[in-house]
């Protein structure tokens, strides 16, 4: 019986952003994300009082997925960041920090939401057009002849995740592995459009990081006993492979909706087994060397195949089916009847491999587009973090192949962009459109709020109480260690800027990031000679960062535009 219950009335709050509680929760969230950011970011330990594993992380994806947010405004913010991360993997924290800061700064200006939103959008347009333009001073085009830049990009991703607990040497090792894994997924003979292969991450928990490696082809884990059974096979050029996605366990296929009446004495199991053995005979006569099945193979069929020196591997699982079919060039077989010869594929070689306590079958394909990345790390939580990081890095590389350019990292893009926006609005202050709906003062206030928000993203990289400076030529980011002497010669104290492109001996002028400066035009052209020599740059993914910037400003606008919150209390 349906129970009818009167619905409770909802709670309706006006002007949610003005409430003290919302501001407090927003600043708590801001504190959390800010402290996680960057190579020296602090780690967060998340544990659920009701059980489950403890997660140590500084990545936005892991952090926000585990954080339970109750206030609807925060929910909007976090889901927006999470959605961004699920699209681009990278730059989640940047998005969150920028969004929080922008909301806070705009609130401080006390302008009406309508003009603030309009101006935010205007400034965002300035940013995106500048970042997409050719003379952008923080954009480096990627040349795939030289892997140096790609390696820098991967290393930047790895170093920005301190919870992976990698040493410098390990970072270098993993970076090269990731880059190698990525390069293996690019098909050799490319047509008009490239279809990238896949890198499968295989866990080697408890192994040393240095033992991690990349192998072309696919690894299928199996017990040592099973591995022993497999007989050494006669060597030929390549092995013929059959891949089944229908079950070979001898169960009855779908009999339809009606009833099936079986006479006494008729054994269907035998009938099906006969069929399976017939299939086995066909496989043997077709000279198949390796039979793989997504589901279970009947022991009798397995034995039959083994007797005829055919290797049978079952329970491969659905996840491996697509890469297996791709690597071997087989068509997954769904029939127990006759098999068309065109659905067989081949592999170059088959080996057994042992890493740590695990043993694997190793399929080496003729043409490599699928590779296995075996990752080890000290403990489970660090391994989880490393796995996420590797996935991020691989995704970032894929994005870079689509849009072949990278942005300067280490806070330099943000400070440079802020300098550019300040300068741009300063020189265009006279020419404000009359029906634009905003005034000169409003523009100035919002520009200041916007640029400060951008700079505070860069500022969040510093967690140890150091000072942050910016130079007056390039608008890059420089940090000084804490408790350095007050009267100093800056070039001696500073070494390199955040991204590592410029060093302090270039006769630059510095100013504190927090102090007010006269707007200056940051130099837009990149010095090519330094670009060629620099091999230790910090770089960021262009696509992810640009989208993160847009999403952050759009989300901030959305939250600023709220006039009511209606909470359904049912």
């Amino acid at each position: 019986m349906a129970r009818l219950e009167a619905k409770k009335p909802s709670l309706c709050k006006s002007e949610p952003l003005t409430s003290e509680r919302v501001r407090a929760t927003l600043s708590v969230l801001k504190g959390i994300v800010t402290s996680c950011y960057g190579p020296s970011g602090r780690l967060k330990q998340l544990h659920n009082g009701l059980g489950g594993s403890v997660c140590t992380t500084s990545q936005s994806s892991a952090l926000l997925a585990n954080l339970s947010v109750t206030h609807p405004i925060l929910k909007i913010l976090t889901t927006s960041v999470q959605n961004h991360v699920s699209c681009f993997s990278d730059c989640g924290l940047v998005t969150a920090i920028l969004c929080c800061n922008l909301i806070e700064n705009v609130q401080k200006t006390g302008l009406t939401p309508s003009s603030a939103i309009k101006l935010n959008k205007h400034l965002l347009n300035l940013c995106t057009t500048y970042l997409r333009s050719k003379d952008c001073g923080c954009l480096i085009p990627v040349n795939f002849d030289n892997t140096q830049i790609l390696l820098c990009l991967v290393r930047s991703v790895l170093t920005s995740k301190p919870a992976c607990m990698l040493t410098r040497k390990e970072t270098d090792h993993i970076s090269t592995l990731i880059l190698r894994a990525f390069l293996l997924t690019i098909p050799e003979n490319t047509e008009d459009h490239i279809i990238l292969g896949k890198s499968i991450i295989v866990p080697l928990k408890g192994q040393r990081v240095i033992d991690s490696t990349v192998l072309p082809g696919i690894l299928i884990q199996m017990s040592e006993v099973q591995l022993m059974k497999i007989l050494p096979i006669k060597k030929s050029d390549s092995l013929k492979v059959a891949l089944f996605h229908a079950s070979l366990s001898g169960d009855l296929s779908d009999a339809g909706e009606g009833t099936l009446v079986v006479d006494y004495g008729v054994c269907l199991e035998n009938a099906v087994l006969d069929q399976l053995l017939n299939l086995g005979r066909q496989l043997v006569s077709d000279h198949v060397d390796l039979v793989m099945c997504q589901k279970v193979i009947h022991p009798s069929l397995k034995q039959f195949l083994n007797m005829h020196r055919v290797i049978a591997i079952d329970r491969v699982g659905v996840a491996l089916m697509e890469p297996l079919s791709k690597v071997t060039g087989t068509q997954p077989i769904g029939s127990l009847g006759s098999i068309s010869p065109s659905s067989y594929g081949s592999v170059k070689d088959l080996r057994t491999a042992k890493f740590g306590f695990k043993s694997f079958f190793h399929l080496i394909p003729n043409e490599v587009t699928v590779c296995s990345l075996l990752l080890g790390n000290r403990n489970d939580t660090a391994w989880d973090e490393l796995k996420l990081t590797c996935q991020t890095a691989l995704h970032v590389l894929q994005l870079t192949i689509k849009e072949p350019c990278v942005l300067l990292g280490g806070g330099c893009t943000e400070t440079h962009l802020a300098a550019y926006i300040r300068h741009k609005t300063f020189i265009e202050r006279g020419s404000i459109p009359k029906d634009g709906g905003y005034t000169q003062t409003e523009l100035q206030l919002i520009t200041e709020a916007f640029c400060t928000a951008l700079e505070s993203v860069a500022g969040s990289l510093e967690h140890d109480g150091g000072e942050i400076l910016t130079d007056m030529k390039y608008g890059h980011f420089w940090s000084v260690q804490a408790d350095s002497p007050s009267v100093v010669n800056w070039p001696d104290l500073l070494s390199r800027c955040g991204c590592g492109l410029h060093n302090s001996q270039e006769e630059l002028n510095w100013s504190f990031l927090r102090s007010t400066r006269h707007p200056f035009a940051p130099q837009t052209c990149l010095p090519h000679e330094t670009l060629g020599s620099a091999n230790n740059l910090t770089l960021d993914c262009f696509t992810a960062k640009l989208s993160g910037l847009q999403v952050a400003v759009e989300t901030a606008n959305l939250i600023l535009d709220l006039s009511y919150v209606i909470e359904d209390k049912n």
Partner: protein, 719 residues
């Protein structure tokens, strides 16, 4: 407990709703965040959604929300304006009755008695409202406001073609009230592009609107995590699922649709399959495999490259599909299938039971068929070649959060609903009362003097007339019945009237034929005035039938004239208002595509003409109601101009508009944007209906019983 249902209580409720709603009305309106009990977060500026999300408890408030929802179902727009207008009306009524109450109290009546007397007064007012709604509003719309209407159709050509810039203005104004302020321009442009891209020809807009409205869910794809500016239109249809098998194909791609598994099964439901031996089982399995193979092979030989299936196909079918390079998409929903059917008129193939060679005539060509990857999710992208006036396109809507995507989706859907409403004529009917002495004779005289050319004037009635012509064939008795039916209707005399030329003895059969000709000539004109399905069914009269029934017609008409002679007081329905009759029913319409500039133009015009009408009106209560409504209508522009000052403040705008009206100059609007007239009109009538409902309630009785019990009673009764 019972509470008096009074204007005061209703006003209090409406005022609370007004404060919430007025925050998000108009171009300066802001967003509202709604959470659902499931934890879902929704952004909205849609008044209907907000009111529903509030889960109001107050009975009057719930009634208002119910009225709003029923209005929204009809038109899809105007929930916020509804509340504001209702609130202003109640305020006006309250103010008026407050004054009257003073005079009532002076009469020193007992309180209880006064209460009931109050109720009588409300009843009185509500009746006045009803008369206003049925008579005066339509009159004012037709007689005065209509001259200000603009049209969305371009005026240069005779055919109805949409003027793109007008549509842009209309949509721009619509989205300004629906979408966040930094996205409305983009979304409105997107919608406009989409609409014009989907139209195969200029005149196909009605069909496109209808199809998009029906299948909106299937025609858009929401993607979260990307900035809104990444939203775009892609040609072709996107199915919300991935290929089960994908084989790249070029050139001639044929598709077929199946609704059952291709692999034959051992038994279908309701049947029995008896297995006698193991061999039998093996042979039947072998047969199944072979059969599936043959069917798939046949599909391949017919150049079929894509198989769309509404059910999950077994592994075997998938295997053969891959082998014969046929792409497969499984588990299509019935909605998706209906979209495909509507666009390319593709029907499912029927698999034969026995023969292997079967005809696959139910196939269609597609331009392309490829996977589409949006945010690492794969979709099926089909380049359907449309057989109707709709060229398939899909909208990819991006946004940082699902709530925003949903808001844009709803707004787009609402816009199509609004356009659909706009493309319909809206009927107006009202009565003109003219004091003419010989009104009883007038219709007859008129009839007698008219010649067949008069028929041109009343072209609107040709359809029912033709209906009678056809019916006439069936013989006398039937026609008699029909005539009776007609005389029961309010508007019968026109039918009678049209036959007058035939009835006069001088008229020869050829003349009658000519008359019929004239009638048919008129028929293409679209004047949807009579909405009587019974009559319209028989409209398909052809040349031959008319000729055959010519004699009978004349015979028939004599009969009809007799009846007409008897009942000479039948009201005459005609568009031309010069005819002097006592009660002259006027039927007119707001033609499709009528628009007015936004920014309260409609309200200011209505206010002006209603006040003028009230001044001339002799009946005091009608005058009072008209004045109240006229003043209440202004509440909407007042809110729209609230934040403006100087030259753009409301008093300034209002005075300028009045001046323009008095001197017969065109009104100048400072806003660029258009809104639908019929939408505004419907809103007005809905609000008035809601108000009469509120006024007729005198007591609200609160029942503290579980509503569950009533259900139980119901079920017992059924037993």
């Amino acid at each position: 407990m019972a509470a008096a249902g009074s204007v005061k209580a209703a006003l209090q409720v409406a005022e609370v709703l007004e404060t919430i709603v007025s925050g998000c009305v108009g171009p300066e309106g802001r967003q509202v965040l709604c959470t659902k009990p499931t934890g879902e977060v929704l952004l909205s500026r849609d008044g209907g959604r907000l009111l529903e999300a509030l889960h109001l408890e107050h009975p009057l408030a719930r009634m208002m929300v119910a009225c709003v929802s029923s209005h929204l179902r009809k038109t899809g727009d105007g929930a916020k304006t509804f509340i504001i207008f209702l609130c202003h009306l109640l305020r006006g009524l309250h103010a008026v009755t407050d004054k009257e109450k003073d005079s009532l109290t002076s009469k020193n009546i007992q309180t209880h008695g006064r209460y009931w007397k109050n109720c009588c007064q409300w009843k009185f007012i509500s009746q006045a409202l009803l008369t206003f709604q049925t008579q005066i509003l339509d009159y004012v719309m037709d007689q005065h406001l209509s001259r200000h209407f603009l049209s969305i159709f371009s005026s240069s050509t005779k055919e109805r073609t949409l003027c793109r810039s007008s549509v842009e203005l209309l949509l721009g104004a619509y989205f300004r009230g629906r979408v966040g302020r930094n996205n409305h321009a983009f979304i409105s442009q997107l919608m406009c592009d989409y609409f014009f891209k989907c139209m195969a020809c200029e005149s196909g807009f009605e069909e496109v609107c209808e199809l998009v409205d029906d299948c909106f869910v299937e025609l858009n794809v929401g993607v979260t995590g990307l900035p809104v500016s990444d939203s775009r239109i892609i040609p072709g249809l996107v199915l919300h699922r991935d290929f089960s098998v994908y084989c790249p194909a070029d050139g001639d791609i044929r598709i077929v649709l199946v609704t059952e598994t291709i692999q034959p099964l051992f038994s279908t439901s309701g049947t029995e399959f008896i297995l006698n031996s193991e061999e039998q089982f093996q042979t039947s399995q072998f047969w199944i495999i072979e059969r599936t193979k043959v069917i798939m092979q046949h599909l391949q030989s017919q150049n079929v490259k894509l198989l769309l299936s509404s059910v999950k196909q077994p592994d075997l079918v998938i295997y053969y599909a891959r082998l014969y390079s046929i792409s497969v998409v499984e588990c299509l929903s019935s909605e998706e299938i209906s979209v495909i059917q509507r666009i390319i008129s593709l029907y499912p193939i029927v698999l034969p039971q026995a023969s292997s060679q079967f005809d696959i005539s139910n196939n269609a060509l597609v331009k392309f068929c490829k996977p589409l990857i949006l945010r690492s999710k794969r979709y099926v992208h089909l380049g359907l070649i449309s057989t109707c006036l709709f060229i398939p396109h899909c909208i990819v809507l991006c946004g940082p959060v699902q709530g925003l995507v949903k808001q844009h989706e709803d707004a787009l859907h609402g816009a199509f609903k609004m356009l659909q409403q706009l493309f319909k004529d809206l009927d107006l009917s009202y009565m003109i009362q003219v004091s003419d002495q010989n009104y009883a004779l007038r219709p007859l005289i008129y009839k007698n003097t008219t010649e067949s050319n008069h028929l041109l004037e009343i072209g609107s009635i040709q359809r029912p007339n033709q209906g009678t012509v056809v019916e006439n064939k069936d013989g006398l008795a039937e026609t008699q019945r029909h005539v009776k039916i007609y005389s029961n209707m309010v508007v019968p005399s026109v039918e009678l009237e049209t036959h007058i030329p035939c009835a006069t003895p001088k008229v020869s059969p050829t003349d009658t034929y000519q008359t019929d000709e004239t009638l048919r000539c008129l028929s293409p004109h679209k004047t949807k005035i009579i909405d009587d399905p019974d009559l319209c069914i028989e409209c398909n009269s052809t040349n031959s039938t008319t000729e055959n029934s010519r004699l009978e017609i004349s015979y028939e008409n004599v009969k009809i004239t007799k009846i007409a002679g008897k009942g000479s007081t039948f009201p005459v329905r005609n568009k031309s208002l010069e005819m002097g009759t006592a009660q002259n029913y006027c039927f007119s319409s707001i033609p499709a595509g009528c628009v007015l500039p936004v920014g309260g133009n409609f309200e200011i015009l209505l206010n002006y003409y209603l006040l003028n009408y009230a001044k001339k009106c002799q009946q005091s209560e009608i005058a009072m109601v008209s004045t109240i409504i006229a003043n209440a209508v202004l509440g909407i522009p007042k809110i729209l101009y609230k934040s403006k000052n100087g030259n753009r403040s409301f008093p300034q705008v209002y005075i300028r508009a009045l001046h323009a009206l008095q001197t017969n100059q065109p009104m100048v609007s400072i806003h660029t944007g258009l809104e639908s007239v019929s939408g505004r009109y419907q809103l007005l009538t809905s609000v008035l209906q809601c108000l009469t409902k509120i006024l007729t309630i005198d007591l609200v009785i609160d029942i503290k019983r579980q509503p569950q019990e009533i259900y139980d009673l119901d079920s017992e009764e059924e037993l």
